[in-house]
Structure formats: C-alpha cells, structure tokens
C-alpha cells in the first residue's frame, strides 16, 4: 500500500513533483559546478606551484647576498698591447645567481638531521656570461675598457676619454647561459624533480664528477644541439647525454651538470646556493620551516604555501572568485532550493487536508501519514539528485570547455632588496627582477565524492521538505474530513 500510494500520488501531481525535484536539482547542480570549478582552480594552482617549485619539494632555502658582497664583473676587453688592437677576443665568466649567497654544504647535513625532514638536497645555479668581439682600434691612443651590457646581442663598448687620437669601435656580442649544478645521486628532489627526458638519458649516480650535461629542449633547439654533442662552459667541454623538458613556467636553467662540476666552475667548492627540503608529511612543513630558520637565521625559507600567497594573475582572480562569490552563491542556491521544495511540499499537504483527515478518521496514526509524506518527498529528492548531478556535471564540462587559459605570475623570490648592488650590470639586474608566469587550462573535475555529496544534499533537502510537510500533516485533525463541501 505504501509504495503504491506514493507512486500514484506522485504520478497524479507529476508536474508539481517534477518542479520540486527541479528546484532541488538546480541547487545541487550549482553546488556541483562551483565545487568542480573550485577543484579545478585548486588543481591549477597545484600545477602552477609544482612547475614553479618542483615536484616533491616542500621547502626551499636560500640566502640573500649582502649588498657589499656583490662585485662587478670586468671582462678585460682592453687590448693588452698595440699588436692586439682590432683582433678578436672571447671572454667568459661564471657568476652564481645574482642576489644569492653561497651556503656551505655542511648546512645540508644540519637540516637533514632536523625532526620532520625526509630528504635534503642542494644545487648551485649560475650564469655563464660570454663576451666576444674585436678589440678597439685607436689611432694614437688606447680605448677604455668595456663592460658587458644586456644578456645577449650586440653592445657598444663604453668609451671613456681617449688620451689621444680617434677610437674605432667594433660590435661586441654578449651572451649568457644559465647552468645549474644538481646532486646527481638524488634527482627526485631539486631542480630536475619534474623533468622528463625526451632524448638520451638522465644523470646516473656515477656522473658525480663526469663532464656530462643535460640540456633543455628549448635551448637545444635554439642552438641546434643534440645528444652526443659537446658544449663548452667556461673553457670546459661537457658532453650532452640527454635532453630534458620541464613543466611550463618552472624555474629552469639551459644546462644541467653535476653539483661537483658546477662548484668547481664557479669556484664554490663545498657550497650551494639553493637547498631543497622534503618534509615527512604536509603536517610537518610549518614545524620544519621553523627549525630551519633557527638553524639558519639569515636564510630565506619558503614553503609552497608562501609561494601560493604570492601568485597573482588571472588564476589568482579565479581562485578568489571561486572562494568568495562561488561558495556563497552555491550556498544561497541550495538554501533557496530547500525553501522551494519545502514550500511546495507543505502546499501539497495543505491541499490534501480532507484526504489525510479521512485517513486519520479511519484510524491511520500520525506517524503513518508523516511517513507517507516523507516517502513522496524522498522520491522527489532522488529524482532531484539524479537531475542535479547530471546538470552539475554538464555545467562543469561547459566550464572546462569554454573557460579561457589562466595565467599565474610569481615574482622572483630571490629579488634583491633595494635593487641590484652597485657595479652589477644591466643584464644581471634583469636576471634578478625576472618573474615567472605559467599558463594553465582550467578544468572542472567531478569526483565520485562530489557526486556523493550532491546526492546527499538533494536527499537532505527532500528530508527537510518532507519533515515540514509531515509536521503539517500530523497537525491535521480527523474532524477535518467532515468539512462541508462548498
């Protein structure tokens, strides 16, 4: 009798039942779509942070260079003697990343010994500047020395007052190459943790002192390099053993060599300028950060959470939109759908006063009648859940299909306070100020858990509506069945 009565009653007022179910469905669909959107934004942020930060890295440690420690680089382009005037020259210099101070590798052991630390590795990033051209030719005098300017391209040597005669200046080519030295014994942490080998091989643990290098695909293409070729870095030839590609926007160098080789090239034996730390669990990160700060008070210790707060751009705006407007919109829609369902259910019960009064007169208990109303409401809730999930998934697919690519920009965390130190050329100033921008396509994933939550919400709405309707029905008196027909 129960199921027959529920089915027949819903069939009789199928339009109202469908309306009630649709009301619930719209609220639930909005929750699904907004939650999927928020998940997509969150996934995009994770993708951004991973590409900017590296997979598996929880904390990075670096140390700002003191202002008075920064030096200038001179390439000695003055011809040593008269005979060299007008002759070709080629000079290169290795500089560690501007603004970053070298850190003793002993600090790595100290950090590794801290509670909550799972793994530690260090790297050294540097820039190899190369200046080539012809010595200036002076008739009757000597040219002033020149400094490099710009990261690449031609530059005019600065000319000071000539002692006598006229100076003939030739174009000078300045180029730079970014190189990172990595710990080849543990590539799962550090700059190459997110790298993928597209050709050749990665580093092996036996490459610690070898003169081998990995080159990024973009650089290889630009310079027509392939596996097996050699590349000279500050006078040392390195054999290219692999070509790698890193996630878009990630902090990458052009070339990667072993840490030991990089330390030797940059004259930083036993030192690193970037430390990567992996915590035992996400819960430990804050505590580990605190411990590292105590161990290295002058260091800049950055977690992925710190980076996340620095992210700007359309991705950041999308995240704010999801958090603020989206969340409250979904809640408002859900409350409205509950209210609509409740009103419609109570209204339906009010129209069945004579019917329920008759059943009470026949001896039906209040709880039996409340159960009837609840049963009808739950069926509407199930229909609403199915419709709501379908609408929500469709909405999420539309978001994923039509949302524009989002950009996330992260300012360089090693930016030197107060600008570049005196004597640093324009090229290094630009390197110091470079920001990282990542482009991601927004998805709106709908997980099974989200579907479960959506179904639960629809059923909860139906339960609320049914409870209110049932309460109304329970208050009906059997005597209501005897009301006169007008």
């Amino acid at each position: 009798m129960f199921f027959t009565y529920v089915y027949r009653e819903l069939r009789r007022r199928h339009r109202q039942a469908l309306l009630t179910a649709l009301g619930l469905a719209v609220g639930v669909a909005l929750v699904v779509a907004v939650t999927a959107y928020a998940s997509g934004v969150s996934n995009a942020q994770d993708e951004v942070l991973q590409s900017l930060y590296g997979v598996g890295t929880d904390i990075t440690v670096s140390q700002q260079q003191k202002m008075d420690q920064a030096g200038s680089q001179r390439f000695g382009m003055q011809p040593p003697d008269q005979a060299k005037q007008g002759k070709k020259f080629n000079r290169s210099a290795v500089m560690t990343s501007p603004g970053q101070q070298s850190i003793s590798a002993k600090k790595l052991a100290k950090i590794a010994a801290l509670d909550g630390v799972d793994a530690v590795t260090g790297s050294i990033s540097m820039t190899v500047m190369n200046v080539q051209g012809k010595f200036a030719q002076v008739k009757g005098g000597s040219a002033a020395s020149a400094s490099s300017s710009g990261s690449s391209g031609s530059a005019q040597p600065a000319s000071g007052p000539s002692t006598q005669g006229q100076t003939q200046m030739s174009p000078i080519d300045v180029s730079s190459l970014s190189v990172s030295g990595v710990d080849v014994s543990d590539l799962k942490l550090g700059p190459l943790s997110a790298a993928q080998i597209t050709s050749g091989r990665s580093f092996a643990s036996t490459d610690a002192k070898a003169k081998v290098a990995l080159v990024t695909r973009a650089y290889a293409k630009q310079n027509s390099l392939s596996v097996g070729d050699t590349k000279k870095i500050s006078g040392t030839k390195f054999k290219i053993v692999g070509i790698v590609v890193l996630p878009s926007g990630s902090t990458s160098s052009d070339l990667y060599i072993s840490l030991a080789r990089a330390q030797k090239l940059s004259d930083n034996a036993g030192k690193v300028n970037q430390i990567y730390v992996r915590a035992v669990s996400a819960d430990n990160i804050a505590a580990v950060k605190k411990e590292i700060k105590l161990t290295m008070p002058k260091a800049t210790v950055t977690t992925s959470e710190d980076l996340a707060s620095q992210v700007s751009g359309s991705l950041s705006s999308a995240s704010s939109l999801a958090d603020r407007l989206g969340k409250w919109l979904a809640i408002a829609a859900l409350v409205a759908s509950f209210a609509v369902a409740s009103l419609l259910t109570v209204s339906a019960v009010s129209r069945r006063v004579r019917e329920f009064g008759t059943l009470k007169a026949l001896g039906w208990k209040s709880r039996r009648i409340v159960g009837q109303v609840l049963g009808e409401s739950m069926v509407q809730g199930i229909i609403g859940a199915v419709l709501g999930v379908a609408l929500g998934v469709a909405g999420a697919r539309l978001i994923a299909a039509f949302s524009p690519d989002l950009k996330a920009t992260l300012g360089n965390t090693t930016r030197m306070p107060g600008g570049a130190p005196p004597g640093v050329s324009g090229a290094m100033k630009a390197l110091a100020g470079a920001a990282q921008t990542v482009t991601v396509h927004l998805t709106a994933p709908v997980s099974l858990q989200l579907v479960g939550i959506a179904v639960a919400l629809a059923l909860a709405g139906a339960l609320v509506a049914g409870a209110l309707g049932g309460w109304r029905a329970s208050r009906l008196r059997p005597a209501d069945a005897l009301r006169r027909v007008d």
């Binding site: 001896g363 039996r368 027909v485």
Partner: protein, 245 residues
C-alpha cells in the same frame, strides 16, 4: 445503552469569539439503533457526530461509549476506537483519488496491519457486498457519485464496526441514487444489526431511521414538524425515548 450523553458541551474559539457548538446535550443511543440527526445549518450536527465518532473530545459533560468516558481518553485511544469500532461515510465520499476502489476499501484495514493477501480478500468481499465487484480496479474519477458512495460504504463496513456514522451520505447525489444508497444502508443495517447514526437535512432520509432527533443551537430540541411523538419508521423496533430538552 451504547451511548450515554449527559450535559455534553463543545466550545470553539474562532476569531476571539467563543462558539458553543454543543450546549448541554443529553442523549442515549441503544445498540443496533438507526438514528437520524437533523437540524438546520450550524445547529451542531457535525460536531455531535465528531463527538460520537471519537474524532474530537467534548469540552464538558460526560460522553460514555460502552461504559468508557470518551472525554477522558487520549488521542491514541480515540484512534484505536476509530480504527476498531467505528466506520465513517462522508458527504463528499472522501475517497483517495489516486487509489482504486478496492485499494480505497483496503485503506480501512491498513491500521490493522493485516497481511496483504488477507487485506485484498476482505476488501474484495466488501465491494462485492455493495455490488461493485466489477468496478474494483477503477479509480474514483471513473465512478459515478452513487458508485463512489458505495465504495465509501464498503470501506466503512469492511472492518465490521459496531457503529457506522454517515454525514449527509446522499448530499451530493440525485434522488434516485439517494434512494439506492439509503436502501443499501438500511439493508446492511438490518442484516448486520450495527448501530447506524445518520446526519441528514433530508426529511425523507431521516424518515427511514428508527428514531430521529433534532438539534437547534447545540441542543436537542423537538423537531419543528413533530407533534411531540417520536416518529416511527417502517423498520426496526423503536426504543424508549431518551430525549431531555
């Protein structure tokens, strides 16, 4: 005596106004009696039916049914009484519009938690008893007024109650159908010996009863056309008058 009413009153408050729907009713109803309750609109007929049918409790006085004071029973006990001892027939039939004729009769057996098969069998028998076996699968909208009222009668009788209450059972029917329905009620009353209490403004319907009472302003009064003697009907013994004005 099945019913003994002494000084029964019922007050309602409507828009801050106190309405005395029943104003000191004294009445006795014997078991197996066919009683007609008459009166003008607003005289308290329906209220009296509600009191007798355990649908509501009186505000004052004593209302004894089979020795039990209904005024002192809780809602649960009143519900038990309604489901086991009383059957109801309403002016508007009050059938569930989405259920078939048989299912409507079955609704009377739901409170008894009867097995589905047994429930269906008894409902089918009750419908057969009112001559509607061939209409069992039809919903109320597919039945005529007379047929709907027959279904309502079957529903009222399926539990074999002690008392049947009919509130204007022919109010929505034409004359010929009215005659059929009252004839059926009378026949069933004779066959089963149940107490039948009918509220009707129709003098002809009332005349079929073994006794009739007249309500005026919540009190039992002498019927306007009555010369003081109790109306006798063609059927059944007439009990001793128990009216007190």
């Amino acid at each position: 005596m099945l019913y003994e009413l002494t000084g029964v009153t019922k007050r309602y408050t409507q828009r801050r106004k106190v309405i005395n729907a029943l104003d000191g009713v004294d009445l006795r109803i014997a078991e197996g009696e066919f009683l007609a309750v008459q009166g003008s609109t607003g005289s308290g007929k329906t209220t009296l039916l509600q009191m007798l049918g355990a649908m509501d409790r009186p505000s004052g006085g004593t209302l004894l049914y089979a020795g039990r004071d209904l005024a002192k029973l809780g809602e649960g006990d009143l519900g038990e009484l309604r489901s086991h001892s009383f059957g109801f027939i309403f002016q508007a039939f009050n059938l569930i519009p989405t259920l078939t004729a048989q299912e409507n009769v079955e609704t009377a057996l739901v409170p008894w938690h009867v097995h589905t098969g047994e429930r269906r069998r008894r409902a089918a028998e009750a419908l057969d008893g009112v001559g509607l076996a061939d209409r069992a699968r039809h919903i109320p909208s597919e039945l005529s007024g007379g047929e709907q009222q027959r279904v309502a009668i079957a529903r009222a009788l399926v539990r074999e109650p002690k008392v049947i209450f009919a509130d204007e059972p022919t109010g929505n029917l034409d004359e010929r159908t009215r005659d059929d329905i009252i004839g059926l009620l009378e026949q069933l009353w004779r066959e089963r010996g149940q107490t039948l209490i009918v509220v009707s403004h129709d003098t002809w319907v009332a005349s079929r009863a073994s006794r009739r009472i007249w309500l005026d302003s919540g009190r039992v009064e002498t019927p306007p056309e009555d010369d003081g003697s109790i109306a006798e009907t063609a059927s059944g013994p007439v009990p001793e008058p128990a009216l007190r004005v």
